[in-house]
Subunit: 341 residues, 2 copies
């Protein structure tokens, strides 16, 4: 029995006494305690693969910031690696894949039957973290959405336009469907393994949703999201498709429990659209945390009032920036947790 | 008297026999003829400051691709330079400002009274180009929107998040207004100089509009756009605020003649919103031009039908990518120009 299950109740549309809050990709980055752990291993990937350290950095935001949920410390790119496409995390530059997907043979060579073994380090991390959390707050598991994973597997690195994977959709629609389908199946196995290990909820991050047009997203990306949401019946599912303002209407017809909004999205319009059918998550501008504490309190309160007291999980509209002071993040969290409805 | 004034008539909401088309930042990039000219000078900036060569590359897309308007070859960052903030264009990396705006003194030091002289090379380029065009098609002038220029002046380079200028808005709102106001005044002088030299229409590019929230855009960026649109009464004004889906409602109340849509924006929703009050420009996905010719024809036709026969200037939803084949761009242009309503 969780001592604080506000996030789960909000996700399911059950009554909450106050709005729950967590902060996207909260572990690491802003906390000196995180950087101390990070310094014990040679690189980011070594940390992700080290269950004891993952457990430690996953708990830090719960202990230090007082958030209402933990999210397992990991990376969305563990999936391509488990499928056979290795990557490096280049300091200050981001991911780099020495090999990318170019041909149908490349797609055929990818494995999807070994997720639980290949990603056993995540499963072990979740086991340890659940034990260490001792039912204080829920633990969120996560995966990248298939389109975003596809984008990295073809582009091989970060990009402003991701024109290579988009070109692939336009020029190789059948191979694209085949690859997206393989990623979707692998992702479902992976999320189910996380849930079996103890994840109380899962989030699907579609970080590069916003560079697709409505037609491309609907044809290629949405069916994968739908398949994942339909397959995960054990726990609530959050879908966060950054910048995909054009998909909010179609997400209504998925079985997602929670829809994440980025800070450009109109809260009232989303509320009117979804009514009582979905919980909403978000959506403070990460840059707002650069402001002084009175401004953070004022902006956070404004956000709370716009979402209303129920069916809302307070969060940023994207990940916290690394140079934000922990005190400013705490101010947002405390403002949410002490707000009197 | 222009021989082909379709773009101007469409911008003003007058009847057109067929939809006009141009391609954003069309000069250069995709044409071997451009690269040949570019090779004659040491770098991009040298080209921008060379009126004869600017004239030559501005005309290339008219001669080779057959577009219905020319757009003067230049860069949005000529304004900060004219104000006293120099930049370099680093090959394959983009702009880099050795000095950025950090203090109120930095803002006070910027000049705004010398635009016509400081940007005389653009004025000369427009004179030459108008003569060379010989009234075949209109010539479009342009400037960056004040928020986008502000973003570069503070960040000093391209960025995924532009967190520095956003931090500036949150932490120094008064200095921000002061700087935006100086940029706005400089931009209006610059656009008026372009019009006096012969520009038949102007476009304001707000390339980084989409990283602001509605509240920030409304408070800081929109008033500048409004001021520019109100000041430019001589020729039609196009406002293109990329990714600013959340501003379409407010743009209705500006005196812009044309609103540019990126490829994530819903054509029908924009049409319903604006009715007969604005012409729309856009909005094919630049990546669509990677597809085969039958797909390009099909997608272009679908776009034309969604916009309808009047009050539409066909274009991409953002700039053409450098590795797109000229034949594919021509296919889009010919599909628009031969479509029978």
């Amino acid at each position: 029995m969780l001592k604080n299950d506000l996030v789960l109740r909000a996700a399911k549309g059950e009554f909450v006494e106050r709005t729950p809050v967590w902060v996207m990709r909260q572990a690491g980055r802003i906390l000196p305690e995180y950087r101390a752990v990070r310094a014990q291993v040679k690189d980011f990937k070594a940390l992700v693969k080290h269950p004891e350290l993952v457990c430690e950095v996953t708990l830090q935001p719960v202990d230090i910031l007082g958030v209402d949920a933990a999210i397992i410390f990991s990376d969305i790119l563990v999936i391509p690696e488990a499928m056979g496409l290795n990557y490096e995390m280049v300091e200050a530059k981001g991911p780099l894949f020495p090999n990318t997907i170019k041909t149908e043979q490349d797609i055929d060579a990818l494995r999807i039957d070994n997720m639980e073994e290949a990603l056993d380090y995540v499963v072990q991390s979740i086991h340890l973290t659940k034990r260490a959390l001792n039912d204080r707050v829920p633990l969120i598991g996560f995966a990248g959405a298939p389109w975003t994973i596809f984008a990295y597997m073809i582009e091989g690195k970060g990009s402003k336009t991701f024109s290579e994977p988009k070109k692939f959709l336009y020029t190789q629609p059948e191979w694209s469907q085949k690859l997206l389908q393989k990623i979707t199946i692998a992702t479902i196995s992976y999320l189910k393994a996380q849930i079996k290990a103890g994840a109380d909820m899962v989030q699907v991050f579609d970080s590069w949703a916003g560079i697709l047009s409505y037609d491309l997203y609907k044809k290629f990306a949405l069916p994968c999201i739908q398949q994942i949401c339909d397959a995960i019946t054990e726990v609530p599912v959050i879908v966060f498709a950054k910048d995909a303002h054009f998909m909010l209407g179609d997400f209504k017809n998925t079985s997602a429990d929670v829809i994440g909004l980025d800070w450009t999205m109109d809260i009232q319009a989303a509320r009117n659209l979804y009514g009582e059918t979905k919980t909403l998550q978000g959506n403070a501008d990460p840059c707002m945390l650069y402001a002084d504490l009175p401004t953070i309190r004022k902006e956070t309160t404004k956000m709370l009032q716009a979402f209303g007291s129920q069916r809302h999980i307070a969060n940023l509209g994207h990940g916290v920036y690394p140079d934000i002071s922990a005190d400013h993040v705490k101010c947002l969290i405390e403002t949410v947790q002490t707000y009197k409805w």
